[in-house]
């Protein structure tokens, strides 16, 4: 797409108030690239954007909130920053880089420059291959999935809207018809 032209027009419409570096930044990226509404503490802006897209592809917004809506990208950034060991941090960053480079090899564009459809296609393909390979060391895509899943289903929206959650059940019934077990969804805890 001719996004450079589109951006120039936008800049003109806005009376040139977008600074030159910002335009350069946008031009180096993709129009589809999300603007980060959170400030990464560990990842770079580009890395954070990639993780944000990926998390939201893994758990998108449907009739219930998705990964981005509940702050999973920021959660991943913090987990890698504070919970991961130095060694695991490096593996995560290396994995991210390889994930992006493989996208370039396959589609000729960095992940963030791909159309949303292509991003999803590539992520799903990488994901399926990783699960089939079943390597002892989880590749980047599964680490992001692990963090996304763990963060999402322990978030209030994930636990209460996609799953069901009862803070104080008060009793245990061991063998009920599924329809009588709350709303029949999986218990969050």
């Amino acid at each position: 797409m001719d996004r450079r032209e589109a951006l120039r027009r936008t800049a003109l419409l806005m009376g040139g108030i977008i600074s030159a570096p910002t335009i350069a930044g946008i031009l180096n990226g993709c129009a589809a690239k999300p603007s980060l509404d959170w400030k990464p503490q560990f990842l770079s802006e580009d890395q954070a954007s990639l993780v944000t897209q990926l998390a939201d592809i893994i758990i998108p917004k449907t009739d219930t909130p998705g990964a981005k809506d509940v702050g999973i990208p920021g959660f991943i950034d913090l987990m890698v920053k504070d919970v991961y060991s130095k060694e695991d941090q490096q593996k995560f960053l290396d994995g991210l880089k390889a994930f992006d480079e493989d996208a370039k090899k396959e589609f000729g564009d960095a992940f963030l420059d791909l159309s949303p459809e292509k991003q999803t296609e590539y992520a799903k393909k990488t994901h399926d291959a990783a699960i089939k390979e079943n390597a002892e060391q989880w590749p980047f895509i599964l680490k992001v999935k692990e963090l996304t899943v763990a963060g999402f289903f322990t978030s209030e929206a994930g636990a209460t809207q996609v799953l069901q959650y009862e803070a104080v059940p008060g009793a245990y019934h061991g063998c009920l018809p599924l329809a009588e077990a709350g709303n029949g969804k999986t218990w969050a805890t």
Partner: protein, 568 residues
């Protein structure tokens, strides 16, 4: 340190209890209820029911998905070895290894919490009686020393403590797992009931709901406790008082008598021995907050500082009479360390029951009592093991490696209860070996400058042979029950991982081979009672806390009777 007679008088009580965990709480309750002015010393900070800081938080209230940061983990390198205990929601209950070091000749997982209530706050709550078979086992096998006590002597004390703490369970009439005074049992779920039936049919083995110290009905004698709410957040402390801890149960009972003085931040590091009277006079205390050294005096001292805690105090209390540690004429003090060996068993997937589910979070599972080396069954090892296990439907944790769980489908799949899975892990008896021991280490000091402990403990041939059966039998039972994709595991682990350390001041009939007599009194100094796990002459394979409670109540009763007779 100089103490004038006035302050000595101020620091004098009828009884001193060291420690506030399972055993200390019981000693405090019994001694105060029998009218003794009792000083209860706890090395850690104060905790009062129902103030548990994380108890009512939701999953999303914790940062880092409840995990410790890499930086925080540096303080809990050993405490974290269980993999399940130290989290954002529970880290305040575990000691920092950096402040409380110990030395391992061989790996030993020593899990501790220093605060009022001790590990009674985080304990697993499984409560089983030892049986006549267990008390007679050492004599029968010629192992260690014979227990100086038999089941019939202890049975009324089991009744007594069960009724006070509230134990939920099912009487089954199994000779080697005696029935008790139980509150209503919790329910088994569909998959567990199915397994129970099949084990009875195919193996003639029992499966019963776990016997657990949860109030499944009100306990009128403990109005501060409510009933179990099935939240399964017990390890954080229960503001409902749904399970037994010292903080929710025995310490409030002691408090109510008006006879208890509870002093937290008081590290007992030594017993004071009176050479003239051949009695313990009291204890020396380091105030953890002020650094002050203090002395307290009493007619009787109950050491309930946990197995290793009490053993440390005894080893660190030397005198002309006891140059090798207090009451250590036998040379057995610190020796015969036992635990239960675990982290071995099997699991798999249960077919069917797709239209069934459960409500509530049952902090309990099923129990398969020991069946090995009973009756005509003879193995290439002695003693045996029980299993604890449970079944549940898989949830979101299984999404990561689920191929079809991606995008909008992931939510759909996660929202529908997954397959039933079932698992069981063995709890095996570990024998007492003199060569398995802890010793005082004066080179390595803790943050208060006190000596520390060195562990030299390992599993030996009997345990390793038993583990083969523990895995094999679990696989065999699950497969026979029709469970699919059965997998066995043996996580090896290390002593200590069961968090049931015991045996370092064993009781016995002969002062030459044991440290304590049948009433938990130090043979050579009868006004010192040791009633935590250190008295255990054998480990059996049942979770031991209920037995510590029964022996503690019995010992306290004996102490008061002996005081009345002026024998102490």
């Amino acid at each position: 340190m100089y103490l004038n007679t006035e302050s000595e008088k101020q620091n004098t009580y009828d009884a001193i209890v060291v420690g506030t965990g399972i055993s200390g709480g019981w000693a405090a309750k019994e001694l105060t209820e029998k009218g003794l002015k009792t000083l209860v010393l706890e090395r850690g900070r104060m905790v009062k029911h129902p103030d548990y800081p994380t108890a009512t938080k939701d999953p999303w209230d914790f940062p880092y998905n409840d995990r410790l940061t890499a930086e925080e983990l540096k303080d809990y390198e050993k405490q974290n070895r269980t993999g399940y205990t130290v989290k954002q929601s529970t880290k305040h209950w575990w000691v920092k290894d950096t402040e409380n070091p110990y030395t391992e000749v061989k790996r030993f997982d020593w899990m501790r919490g220093y605060h009022v209530g001790g590990r009674s706050i985080m304990w697993g709550r499984q409560s089983y009686r030892l049986s006549e078979m267990d008390f007679a086992a050492n004599a029968k096998d010629g192992i260690g020393v014979d227990w100086p006590v038999r089941y019939n002597e202890l049975s009324p004390w089991y009744d007594y403590v069960e009724q006070f703490i509230g134990v939920s369970g099912q009487n089954e009439g199994i000779p080697n797992l005696p029935d008790g005074k139980f509150l209503p049992p919790m329910e088994l779920n569909c998959a567990e009931l199915d397994l129970k039936g099949k084990l009875a049919d195919k193996f003639n083995r029992h499966l019963t709901i776990g016997r657990t110290a949860h109030a499944t009905a009100p306990l009128p004698h403990s109005p501060q406790r409510g009933t179990c709410q099935f939240r399964n957040l017990c390890i954080r402390g229960c503001p409902y008082g749904g399970y037994f801890s010292s903080v929710s149960s025995t310490l409030p009972a002691a408090e109510k008598t008006g006879n208890m003085t509870l002093r937290p931040n008081s590290i007992v590091y030594e017993l004071i021995y009176d050479e003239q009277k051949s009695k313990a006079k009291g204890v020396r205390v380091l105030d953890a907050e002020t650094g002050e050294h203090l002395e307290f005096f009493a007619k009787v001292v109950f050491l309930c500082a946990s197995t290793m805690g009490s053993t440390f105090v005894l080893l660190n209390s030397t005198s002309n009479r006891f140059p090798n540690g207090f009451g250590n004429d036998s040379g057995e003090l610190g020796h015969n360390v036992m635990d239960h060996h675990l982290a071995v068993g099997a699991g798999g997937e249960v077919e069917g029951f797709e239209d069934k589910y459960y409500t509530g979070r049952r902090a309990n599972g099923f129990y398969i009592p020991r069946y090995r080396n009973i009756g005509s069954d003879k193995r290439d090892y002695i003693r045996g093991f029980g299993y604890q296990g449970g079944a549940s439907r898989q949830g979101w944790h299984n999404m990561v490696k689920e191929l079809s769980a991606f995008g909008a489908d992931l939510k759909k799949i996660a929202g529908a209860p997954g397959k039933w899975s079932i698992g069981m892990g063995g709890f095996g008896e570990m024998l007492p070996y003199h060569e398995n021991f802890v010793s005082l280490n004066k080179e390595v000091k803790d943050k208060y400058g006190l000596p520390t402990l060195t562990f030299d403990v390992e599993f030996k041939e009997n345990e390793l042979k038993m583990r083969v059966d523990m895995q094999k039998d679990a696989i065999e039972m699950l497969e026979a029950a029709g469970v699919k994709n059965v997998y066995g595991y043996d996580g090896k682990g290390a002593p200590g991982l069961g968090i049931h350390e015991m045996g370092t001041a064993r009781m016995g009939k002969d002062p030459k081979t044991s440290v304590l007599n049948k009433f938990n009194q130090v043979h050579a100094c009868k006004n010192v009672f040791v009633t935590d796990g250190s008295f255990m002459a054998s480990a059996a394979c049942q979770n031991p806390s209920l037995t510590y409670m029964a022996f503690t109540a019995r010992a306290a009763n004996h102490a008061v009777e002996e005081l009345k007779k002026q024998n102490l």
